[in-house]
């Protein structure tokens, strides 16, 4: 057989996902993404601080609609994401296999788990207020309720390491934040951004309103500090921020977040040891909620 293939694959240009659209980076630059063996896979957009700020704008604009939709409706949308993913299971399995250097069986299992995780969080949307809220028995004639509300815009440093981080880990940090009505800007895994950028394509066709999820690829050290210091970001998930990242390291980002008193979810003690196949708890759901207590007198 000749070295020249009979049919040439059509290669994909990976793009950012911002405000429901797929812009190239304003930098006009890309960086090489390779597989576990150093083989070139694709060029990913080299997202910048400006891209991050644009994404925050989009996320802010989407807060009102997304936080204001009913919990039932948010559940429907999250469930729809799982449906769409199911249909593209093989594509994601191949991307995860390449990204993390895994065999076909393992990567398919990770994608299945990611699909199941969307389903799990879809079911939480209309239950979280029931476990996080309260009717408070105050010592007086008052009707008194505590209800959880979304914090607003959450900046997320996606998992950069750990088994299943490139996709299952990514889904595990996005889904709980948006299930509770927040919108997010995600800095994807710098070395394995392709499944994340492809997720944008799924979200765009899953009834998720534009701007609810925004995904940027690039160097964590460029993207994360902008999220940490941005006045219009309300909370920060530092799951993927590790010590080696310099300006993108968790402690540095947490200090930057102090200026605006952002809520910060700190990374695990050793993020690289995280196994994303472990069952999720409620911590991520509850981390990006504010409790509002409403009082009203009771009487005739």
């Amino acid at each position: 057989m000749s070295e020249i293939a009979t049919r040439l694959d059509v290669m994909k240009t990976y793009k950012l996902f911002v405000g429901g659209k797929f812009p190239r980076s304003e930098s006009g630059r890309v960086y090489e993404v390779t597989d576990g063996k150093g083989q070139w896979l694709a060029n990913a957009p080299l997202g910048t601080r400006k891209d991050t700020r644009d994404a925050v704008l989009a996320a802010r604009a989407a807060v009102k609609g997304w936080a204001g939709t009913t919990a039932y409706n948010r559940g429907q949308v999250l469930y729809r994401v799982a449906e769409m993913l199911q249909g593209r299971r093989e594509q994601f399995a191949a991307e995860v296999a390449a990204a993390e250097g895994l065999g076909a069986k393992k990567s398919a299992a990770l994608v299945d788990q990611a699909i199941d995780r969307w389903v799990w969080y879809a079911g939480w949307t209309d239950k979280v207020a029931q476990i996080a809220g309260a009717a408070n028995p105050v010592a007086g004639p008052y009707f008194n309720l505590s209800v959880p509300e979304p914090t607003g815009v959450v900046g997320i440093v996606a998992p950069q390491a750990g088994y299943g981080h490139s996709f299952l880990g990514l889904v595990s940090v996005i889904a709980p934040a948006i299930a509770t009505g927040n919108t997010v800007v995600v800095a994807a895994a710098a070395n394995a951004p392709l499944p994340a950028l492809s997720l944008g394509e799924v979200l765009a066709t899953s009834d998720v309103p534009g701007g609810v999820v925004n995904i940027i690829s690039g160097r964590t050290a460029d993207l994360a500090p902008t999220l940490a210091s941005h006045q219009d970001v309300n909370a920060l998930d530092l799951t993927g921020a590790i010590a080696a990242d310099g300006p993108g390291a968790a402690a540095v980002l947490e200090a930057a977040a102090a200026d605006t008193l952002k809520r910060v979810l700190r990374p695990a003690v050793d993020p690289s040891a995280q196994d994303w196949t472990n069952a999720p708890g409620t911590e991520r759901l509850l981390s990006f909620l504010e409790t509002k207590t409403v009082w009203h007198p009771m009487g005739q």
């Binding site: 105050v138 007086g140 309300n234 977040a257 102090a258 695990a268 995280q274 994303w276 509002k292 009082w295």
Partner: protein
């Protein structure tokens, strides 16, 4: 029809029919105030390792009440060590036993309520009717409420194995010295933590008196430690490497610096910071009740309240009517001796705070807002500020954006509910808000839209230990009170995902 309904003519005319006779509480009821105090560490009152002493004064008379220690780093070290030493046994104690200690403390507070109320009033300058009828009942209630949680933590919903965090460093403000102490110490002890608490440097006396209560209750040594001093002591405490949790109530700026200081440390942190609450009055609101709510919202505790309703947003169509009623009501407020049971408004807590209020109100005038205060005489000694309102305030004015922390109300207007929401949310703070309207659907709509941790509808400044309290945005994070108030003091199963 009610037969004995009085006609207009039979009702008493407005105006002073009778003058008040003074009804002074005896300062002696505060018990003996020592001339100088050290710290309470490891169950003992001890001298400071340093020689610097601060003085606490009665803000109503400027008389020195006592000297107390400026805590040094060495003092902090000793206190944290004592708390660490006590932590093992205390956290291992069955919750039902910890509960009984808290019940004991609550009961002793009730028994010594009058003494504590008078002492609080003397040291803080707040009226006795507030310490007696609000602060002290709330303090006891807080200990009772969290006593009941100590043996039920498995049911609190924070995971299958809730554990205490360790040693809690707690720094509290001067506006509600004992109540803030209760808000901090009760949930910390119920969850099995030990504490080092630093009261504010202008109001240390009731915290030191509380130390005696811990001894009467037989609380194990080192479970509660009290160290005194100013911000330097607080900074040394929150920075101490062996504390596991920091809880702070105070200004947003100090909260910010603590958050920065703790970055990367993995210490748990909860912050209750400033506020600039909107109290929103619609044209269909019951005016008299709204006026009471406005007065309570801003003049309660001399306005030294982080959730004070310091911005009145009044619907334009009723502005004149409402302001007239408000001024009429304000003219009846009695300012003066905090120990007089008739006093509504006591002294400003310190000369420094009075200076800040004076500076911000001067800025209000300079920026063009119109100032009004009822005619009232101020005592010759002490720190006083007349209940004051500003009208014609714009959103850009400093008095509409900055927390004044004094009896000063800024009045703004709005036309539509949407505008009210937009203006109410237009500060970096998000602690509390008030809504006054007879329309239920509007209350629920507004309550949903307001970015505030507490929303009072047709009421204001209500608190209860069962009820979570805390801020959105730069008003801080974490909640105090209720089931939610346990979380800042608990670790749950390690997070993997």
């Amino acid at each position: 029809m009610a037969k004995n309904k009085k006609t207009e003519a039979e009702l008493p005319k407005s105006g002073p029919l009778f003058d008040y006779a003074p009804a002074p509480e005896s300062p002696a009821a505060a018990g003996e105030i020592a001339t100088s105090y050290g710290h309470f560490i490891g169950g003992e009152f001890v001298d400071s390792s340093g020689s610097e002493a601060l003085k606490t004064v009665n803000p109503a008379t400027e008389q020195v009440l006592a000297e107390f220690a400026q805590g040094t780093e060495e003092d902090v070290e000793r206190a944290v060590k004592a708390a660490r030493k006590a932590f093992g046994d205390w956290s291992a104690l069955p919750g039902s036993e910890r509960a009984k200690y808290l019940y004991r403390i609550a009961r002793i507070i009730q028994e010594r309520s009058r003494e504590l109320a008078v002492l609080e009033s003397i040291d803080n300058g707040k009226p006795i009717k507030e310490t007696r009828d609000f602060d002290l009942p709330m303090v006891a209630a807080w200990f009772f409420y969290y006593a009941g949680w100590a043996d039920k933590l498995d049911y609190a919903g924070f995971g299958p194995n809730p554990r205490p965090v360790g040693v809690a460093a707690q720094v509290i403000p001067w506006n509600f010295p004992l109540m803030m102490l209760a808000w901090k110490i009760a949930p910390a002890l119920a969850t099995g933590n030990t504490v080092v608490l630093k009261p504010a440097e202008t109001t240390p006396l009731t915290a030191l008196r509380f130390a005696e209560i811990c001894r009467q209750a037989g609380l194990p040594k080192g479970v509660v430690n009290i160290i005194t001093g100013d911000g330097r002591t607080g900074a040394a405490l929150t920075a101490h490497p062996d504390v596991n949790k920091v809880a702070f109530t105070g200004s947003t700026n100090v909260g910010r610096s603590i958050a920065r200081q703790l970055a990367g440390s993995r210490k748990k942190l909860s912050l209750e910071l400033g506020g600039k609450a909107a109290n929103i009055v619609f044209d269909d609101a019951p005016i008299d009740q709204a006026v009471e709510g406005i007065v309570n919202g801003i003049f309660f505790n001399q306005g030294h309240v982080c959730c004070a309703g310091s911005r009145l947003l009044v619907q334009e169509s009723i502005q004149d009517e409402l302001l007239e009623a408000l001024k009429r009501r304000m003219a009846t407020l009695r300012l003066g001796d905090p120990l007089d049971k008739n006093t509504d408004i006591g002294a400003i807590n310190s000369a420094a705070q009075l200076a800040r209020i004076t500076e911000l109100t001067a800025a209000g005038e300079a920026e063009g807002a119109e100032r009004w205060a009822p005619a009232c005489e101020l005592p010759s000694a002490g720190y006083w500020f007349k209940p004051t309102i500003f009208t014609g305030v714009s959103q850009a004015h400093r008095i509409a954006q900055e927390e004044i922390f004094g009896p000063v109300l800024s009045v703004l207007t709005f036309r539509t509910p949407d505008e009210a929401v937009a203006k109410a949310n237009n500060t970096p703070f998000g602690l509390s808000a008030g809504i006054w309207t007879e329309k239920g659907s509007r209350i629920l709509w507004m309550a949903d839209k307001l970015k505030a941790g507490v929303v009072w509808a047709n009421t204001f400044n209500k608190f209860d230990p069962t009820s979570p309290f805390g801020g959105y945005k730069e008003s801080g994070y974490g909640r105090e009170g209720g089931r939610h108030g346990l979380e800042p003091y608990l670790n749950v199963e390690a997070r993997d995902v």
